[in-house]
């Protein structure tokens, strides 16, 4: 597939890198000379110096033969104009635009069916808010990713020193009545797709696949404290903070929001109903103790200052907050902060990258964890009749070593498979794989990986 990416900021760059590693033909359009040079020497894509808002540059990039254009510059207007020209130059191209301005988002239908025909509009902030809300549904998890409208969940859990499953082999977990499948284990900086004989070690981050109705079973098995989410503190009352607080406003969760700026606090108070608005500094230890951070289930730190976010989260942890969610913008910081004890990181860019990649090839990226180099991914695939993998038991299928079938979706039925299960034609598969195994998977399904 040929994909044009406009803008090589962190989002554009990461998407280009991922797609190029998956053997797509990628052309990047970027205005900054230095970035163009850097891209050329780091990833195998064609980098064109110029503006994505110029039809001639788009043509030079070969828009006529391209399948997808991703407009991911920092400017909403540039992204819209790039899509506008793309629409003008070719009829069939899939258009993805990153839009930040909430005003534009309100009227997104204009950009979709009515006028520009943009296939996917991404707002990094609202993507991030959505992923935070998902996380709150399963508060004991460090990450939750939904599949099939949330009927299948991939849940990341950090194993503590006193966990009952320590040292047990994964196949022994399957003796239980309910099906749980451990798809990925992240140990230190190593990511692996485990087999039945692998054991669980302290401080492992494991990713389990489970049906929605069986998620409570997972934490019973792991003997996690089953407490509903009752107290949340949000530090930082910017747009994201407000959006999150607004979503929580209608729930029974006791929510407080801390904001430094008095004027902004007034605005927040006007917009929020039940949420308690506090005017204060998140780095102030006395203030946090006063507001009883020790009893908080989740502390969400969303101020505009990256470094403060990390420190506030650590302070919150030290004061007894059960869990912290920290906003980190710079992708290069993420592996570092995980190493110093930050539980969960959210990033608007990461959310945007994830949504775009997912749209392009129905794959979801697991990358919250301190994954160095090779990351794991989850892909949805349809098994075709002609494929070599159908109608034989899974244990007999020659599957790549670094990939595993996490779930089989057969109509309404969801199967968490074991070795004796069989894949039938037209089943949808949820496959977990390390990045390196994706080309092999693609071969196994030969052009059958579902892209659209």
């Amino acid at each position: 597939m040929k994909i044009i990416i406009v803008g090589a900021g962190e989002v554009g760059f990461t998407i280009a890198q991922r797609l190029s590693e998956e053997n797509h033909d990628v052309v990047v359009i970027e205005m900054d000379q230095n970035k163009v040079r850097q891209i050329q020497s780091v990833i195998d894509v064609q980098a064109i110096l110029g503006s994505g808002t110029s039809p001639s540059v788009l043509q030079e990039a070969g828009i006529k033969e391209s399948d997808i254009i991703v407009a991911a510059t920092d400017s909403d207007e540039a992204n819209l104009i790039a899509c506008f020209y793309a629409q003008h130059l070719t009829d069939y191209i899939t258009k993805i635009a990153r839009i930040k301005n909430p005003e534009y988002m309100k009227h997104r239908e204009i950009f979709r069916q009515d006028f520009l025909n943009i296939d996917l509009i991404i707002n990094p902030k609202s993507e991030m808010v959505a992923s935070m809300l998902r996380l709150m549904e399963v508060p004991w998890a460090s990450e939750v990713i939904d599949f099939v409208d949330g009927r299948i969940k991939l849940i990341g859990i950090t194993i503590e020193d006193n966990s009952p499953v320590l040292g047990r082999t994964l196949s022994s977990l399957n003796d239980y009545q309910h099906a749980i499948l451990v798809g990925v284990i992240v140990r230190g900086e190593k990511v692996m797709i485990p087999g039945g004989q692998d054991t669980i070690q302290p401080n492992d981050l494991i990713y389990c696949v489970a049906r929605r109705e069986e998620t409570p079973h997972i934490f019973r098995l792991l003997n996690l404290r089953e407490e509903g989410l009752s107290r949340v503190i949000i530090v930082g009352g910017g747009e994201t903070g407000l959006a999150l607080a607004t979503s929580l406003d209608t729930t029974n969760i006791n929510t407080k929001i801390i904001e430094k700026d008095g004027q902004r606090c007034l605005e927040l108070a006007e917009k929020l109903e039940k949420v308690v608005v506090l005017n204060g500094d998140g780095t102030d230890r006395e203030f946090l103790m006063e507001e009883n951070v020790a009893d908080v289930d989740i502390m969400v730190v969303l101020t505009g200052d990256e470094e403060s976010n990390v420190l506030i989260s650590l302070l919150g942890k030290a004061l007894g907050a059960k869990k912290t969610v920290t906003r980190i913008g710079k992708l290069s910081y993420i592996p570092l902060v995980s190493a110093i004890g930050i539980d969960t990181v959210v990033s608007p860019r990461l959310s945007a990258i994830r949504t775009i990649l997912q749209y392009i090839r129905k794959g979801k990226v697991i990358s919250e964890a301190p994954l160095k180099g090779e990351g794991a991914e989850v892909i949805e695939v349809e098994a075709l009749e002609t494929s070599d993998i159908v109608n034989i038991p899974l244990s007999k299928v020659k599957f790549p070593k670094d990939a595993i079938v996490g779930a089989i979706v057969r109509g309404e039925e969801i199967i968490i498979p074991r070795g004796h299960n069989m894949i039938k034609p037209h089943d949808h598969l949820i496959i977990i794989a390390l990045k390196g195994a994706i080309p092999k998977l693609e071969k196994l399904f030969t052009v059958k990986l579902e892209y659209f």
Binding site: I43, D44, V45, Q46
Partner: protein
């Protein structure tokens, strides 16, 4: 430095180089000229050494190939190709000494076309074919060829490509580097086939047509005849070869765009316009200079002037007339051509028209700045601003080119060669042209140059083909420091 990676890749390179000897092997079978066994032994040794390197050195990570390693791979790869490429000459007894065989082999791969052979017609056809094939492979680049074949190089491929492609700016034609390399080779192959066809139609024997096309397209210059193209004395052959020498001297990305339907691309490209203008002016100048003094008809004067100027300026080095006997002005023009060279991104050598244009523009800018001290100007090529770093790199290249040229000339003259020979032999080898003047003139060859001189010239050929930086950096102590 990842030495394992470097040597493993060179192993792969050797393996493919060995495989390419299958072609001369077939030729020697067809003509049963007695070169079958020498070529077979060379093949086995070359591929065998490649397999040995590949199997003995175990690594899996190709992605971390940095620019530094890429330069080492390219330079060492070329040195090793020169060595293994000389085996068929040695084993068949066509060339007696290692020095001469290595000189001939590097001259082939670097598309120089300087030869130590005296009686070319008497050589086995398999060996002659190998001689032409080395040029053809070296023209578009043996590394670029392996990038096209080996998809796993990924980003590392880009670094290798940059280190080998003869151009100050690298043009990526396709999103993937392996596709870019494949595209270039396809265009190259297509034009070569076209030339073979046109020469055959004109009555040149098929074997000669193939060898000459394999020699024209890389702007090499090896011929199957001792007297080069003059042997045929055919205006048709000379015309066809002149046109294809010009095509070979044009940036191959322009050919690619042309084939994709952009028919005005040659006229639009500023470098191409300057290249063709310089060529036209110099041809006219030489025509009028040799008319009446050497040739007595204007047609004949034009025919030889056009062929010879094109041959030298595109750094091919075919010969139809003994230009050593031409008047002084013509000789100076041809010497000048040896420095100008063809377009960037072509298979030609020397300084290249793009660098000349930018150097002139840079010079003019300095004058302009003296007149208008407050003026702010940017140097443009075809309406697009040229980045300062490209200009700096061109300035550095020019100075290094001249410095190395002077050093080599001093060495050549100090081992007893006359001034003209010293000057012309270095100009003709560092510019990858082939024939020079004096003892190494168009109807003579490099056999009489002393051994030390041959090694100096061999090094010059490599410097010229890999555009100096890639080779010379390996001599910098800082390069090897951790």
């Amino acid at each position: 430095m990842h030495f394992r990676q470097i040597f493993r890749l060179i192993g792969i390179l050797n393996f493919f180089l060995g495989l390419s000897m299958i072609a001369p092997l077939i030729v020697s079978l067809v003509y049963s000229d007695g070169s079958f066994l020498p070529v077979l032994y060379s093949l086995l040794i070359t591929s065998g050494s490649g397999i040995a390197l590949f199997l003995l050195i175990k690594i899996t990570d190709y992605s971390s190939l940095s620019q530094r390693e890429a330069m080492a791979i390219v330079t060492l790869g070329w040195l090793s190709a020169g060595f293994f490429g000389s085996l068929p000459f040695l084993f068949s007894g066509s060339i007696g000494t290692i020095t001469d065989a290595y000189f001939e082999s590097i001259s082939g791969f670097t598309t120089t076309g300087a030869s130590v052979l005296t009686n070319i017609e008497s050589l086995p056809r398999g060996i002659l074919f190998w001689r032409s094939l080395t040029q053809w492979m070296g023209g578009m680049g043996i590394i670029v060829l392996s990038i096209a074949i080996l998809p796993f190089l990924g980003v590392g491929g880009m670094q290798l490509y940059k280190a080998e492609i003869p151009s100050p700016v690298v043009d990526k034609l396709q999103p993937r580097i392996s596709e870019t390399a494949k595209t270039l080779w396809k265009v190259y192959l297509l034009i070569t086939l076209l030339e073979i066809g046109l020469l055959s139609i004109g009555g040149m024997p098929l074997f000669d047509s193939i060898c000459h096309a394999f020699s024209t397209m890389p702007t090499g210059g090896f011929s199957t005849q001792s007297a080069s193209i003059a042997q045929y004395n055919s205006a048709y052959f000379e015309g066809v070869i002149t046109i294809f020498m010009i095509l070979a001297g044009v940036n191959f990305s322009l050919h690619f765009r042309f084939l994709k339907g952009d028919f005005k691309v040659f006229g639009r490209d500023p470098e191409c316009r300057v290249f063709l203008s310089i060529l036209a002016i110099l041809i006219l100048l030489v025509t009028f200079n040799v008319y009446g003094t050497v040739y007595h008809s204007i047609g004949k004067a034009f025919r030889h002037a056009a062929f010879q100027v094109t041959s030298i300026m595109t750094t091919t080095g075919f010969v139809t007339g003994d230009y050593a006997q031409w008047p002084g002005l013509s000789q100076i023009v041809l010497l000048l051509c040896m420095f100008i060279g063809a377009m960037a991104g072509s298979t030609g050598g020397a300084i290249k028209v793009m660098r000349i244009i930018l150097l002139v523009k840079h010079g003019y800018q300095e004058i302009f700045r003296l007149i208008h001290p407050h003026a702010v100007r940017s140097i443009k090529l075809g309406g697009k601003p040229v980045p300062a770093e490209v200009l700096n790199s061109i300035g550095g290249f020019f100075i290094l080119y001249l410095t190395l040229f002077i050093v080599a000339v001093i060495i050549m003259s100090s081992i007893g060669l006359d001034a003209v020979t010293s000057f012309a032999s270095v100009a003709a080898t560092i510019g990858n042209v082939g024939p020079g003047l004096g003892l190494v003139g168009p109807v003579r060859n490099y056999l009489s140059v002393p051994d030390l001189g041959k090694w100096v010239l061999t090094f010059c050929m490599l410097l010229g083909r890999l555009e100096i930086y890639t080779v010379i950096i390996l001599l910098a102590p800082a390069y090897w420091r951790k």
